[in-house]
Amino acid sequence: MSVQPSEALVTAPLSAPGTFSRAFRRLRGDPLGMLGLILVLLMVFCAIAGPSIAPFDPFKIRVTERFTPPSLPHVFGTDNIGRDVFSRVLVGSRIALTVGGLSIAISLVIGLVLGLCAGYGPRWLDNFLLLVFDSVYSFPTVILGLTVMTLLGPSMTNLILVVVVVQTPAYARLIRTATLSIKGSEYILAIRSLGASPARVLFVHILPNIIGPLFIIASMDIPAVITLEAGLTYLGMGIPPPAPSWGRILLDGFDNIRDAPWIVVAGGIPLIVTTLGFTFFGESLRDLMDPRLRRNL
């Protein structure tokens, strides 16, 4: 029986030559996926080059120019203390992507270890960890974030910690399920009967088989994390001022929504563009790599 192309994509190691070029060729046939990719690349470009291409200093206060409506040279206008909103939006992309990338990477590592322990370890450990995961999971995300921030106080590090607390159970659960399904297979039994240590079984024989799909799922979580960062900052419990987080721009704009509506509009646009970009790209990538990955919401 011939192997379906999508299955071949999953069973082939991700680094196999041609996998990415093949994936890219198929992506080109999907206009929404391409649009997503372009938006994601735009966002990454802004995050890297933002501070150097920003037309104004995003922190520079010019009281004489406060509440300048959008016009040249202030494309998105200025805010209540005369800072150029466009420059702040550009520089804000770096904050969004840093929080998104770092926190997801950390939660992946922790979730991986906890998930492997739960899936491969003794039954009681599995039950205990599952209970903790489910308990953390039953907190509404923003409310959990606010609770942790109340104790720790608003800062970038604490915000990353909040996202790690929110995201880790999801990854740990996925890894646990994948580990359980692989644990009983014959090659694991074989390597165990040869006397391999649990660490070797887990990291050399199980991990490489389950990690691929996890990366795709994790990359699809980036918009949710960026939203959480901006949301908590908007509520005053995220990144403290004057850092130009998109949530901060929205908060500054909301306080002056009648005088200067362009500030909230400018603060919301990058959030919409980024979340749409990552979602379209992620969906297309997922369908491309493996239709079976469709997560049940």
Binding site: D134, P140, L151, E283, L297
Partner: protein
């Protein structure tokens, strides 16, 4: 069936207890003295000692946990640090507003999302279906607080159609409903997309089944087949999704309530968090966990009750 019910409810109960333990231990896990963190710059040694005593932090930790669990079991969530009122009273006052908001959000998203998904499935691969698909992904991914702010800016400030703040006058139902429109729009919009997608997927699955083919072969009108034989089955997964939506909407409600200055549990938590009033945040957060933890088994039981195939597996 009874065993299953008890198991599900027992699990929710266990989740609630674990959440209480987590909330409780969080205060001990953070570096530094909780009292001085809560008091911030106001901290004097006397104030700190008083707060430590009020929160029971001068007792041994296991003792504190037992006391805390005992008090929560009796419905006592502690005392608000600033107003000195019982947290449970404050939560009880704001909960109805949030529940109304969530019910309105669930209601309108189901009323729009389910028919949309159904229509999309019937008109599969037409431009209308594709447009619905794109709109679904769009509404799912746009953050609810951006929707809320934009809605406020456009409909309340620019067009002046809807009120900007508050929940409406007490006793004036029309006014209260009018105040509910924009917040529930913001809270529900994302779920329209989710519901449309899941109904579309499950409709497509059901429409391919044998009984639908048989119904067609008998010459039943297409409308009856869709409504009576397909949608009735296809709608079941939405029940679980709606329970999940309660959790998501509790998060969105936090934003909707602070943006539209509506009273509610979300606004209560945000205000308390900005004052670093942990007992109030803790009590309110716990209430949302209980709500969500029990919504899931209720949804599962509802599905089991409605679907003979699921019921048969017990």
């Amino acid at each position: 069936m009874l065993v299953y019910t008890l198991q599900r409810i027992g699990l929710s109960f266990l989740i609630c207890v674990t959440s209480i333990c987590l909330l409780f231990s969080a205060i001990h896990l953070i570096p530094g003295d909780p009292a001085s963190i809560m008091l911030g710059s106001r901290a004097t040694p006397e104030l700190r000692e008083r707060l430590n005593h009020e929160l029971g932090l001068d007792q041994p930790v296991p003792m504190q946990l037992v006391n805390f669990l005992g008090r929560v079991a009796q419905g006592d969530l502690g005392t608000d640090l600033w107003s000195q009122r019982p947290v449970s009273t404050m939560v009880a006052e704001s909960l109805p507003y949030t529940l109304t908001l969530i019910a309105a959000g669930l209601g309108w998203s189901a009323l729009v999302g389910i028919p949309l998904g159904c229509y999309s499935a019937i008109r599969r691969n037409t431009w209308a279906d594709r447009l619905t698909g794109i709109l679904s992904v769009g509404t799912i991914s746009i953050p609810s607080f951006v929707v809320a702010i934009y809605a406020l800016l456009f409909f309340s400030i620019e067009l002046d159609w809807f009120p900007v703040i508050g929940a409406g006058d007490e006793g004036n139902l029309g006014d209260q409903l009018w105040h509910l429109v924009l917040p529930s729009f913001a809270v529900g919009l994302g779920w329209v997309g989710y519901l449309a997608r899941i109904v579309r997927a499950s409709m497509l699955e059901v429409m391919g089944e044998n009984h639908v083919r048989t119904a067609r072969a008998f010459g039943l009108p297409e409308g009856k087949i869709i409504l009576h034989y397909a949608l009735r089955i296809a709608i079941l997964p939405t029940i679980t999704l709606l329970a999940l939506a309660i959790g998501g909407m509790l998060s969105s409600a936090v934003f909707a309530e602070s943006i539209f200055a509506r009273p509610g549990i979300g606004k209560l938590i945000v205000d308390a968090a900005n004052l670093r009033d942990y007992p109030l945040v803790q009590g309110a957060a716990l209430t949302t966990v209980v709500l969500f933890a029990f919504a899931m088994p209720i949804a599962d039981l509802l599905v089991a009750w409605l679907d003979p195939r699921v019921r048969a597996t017990f």
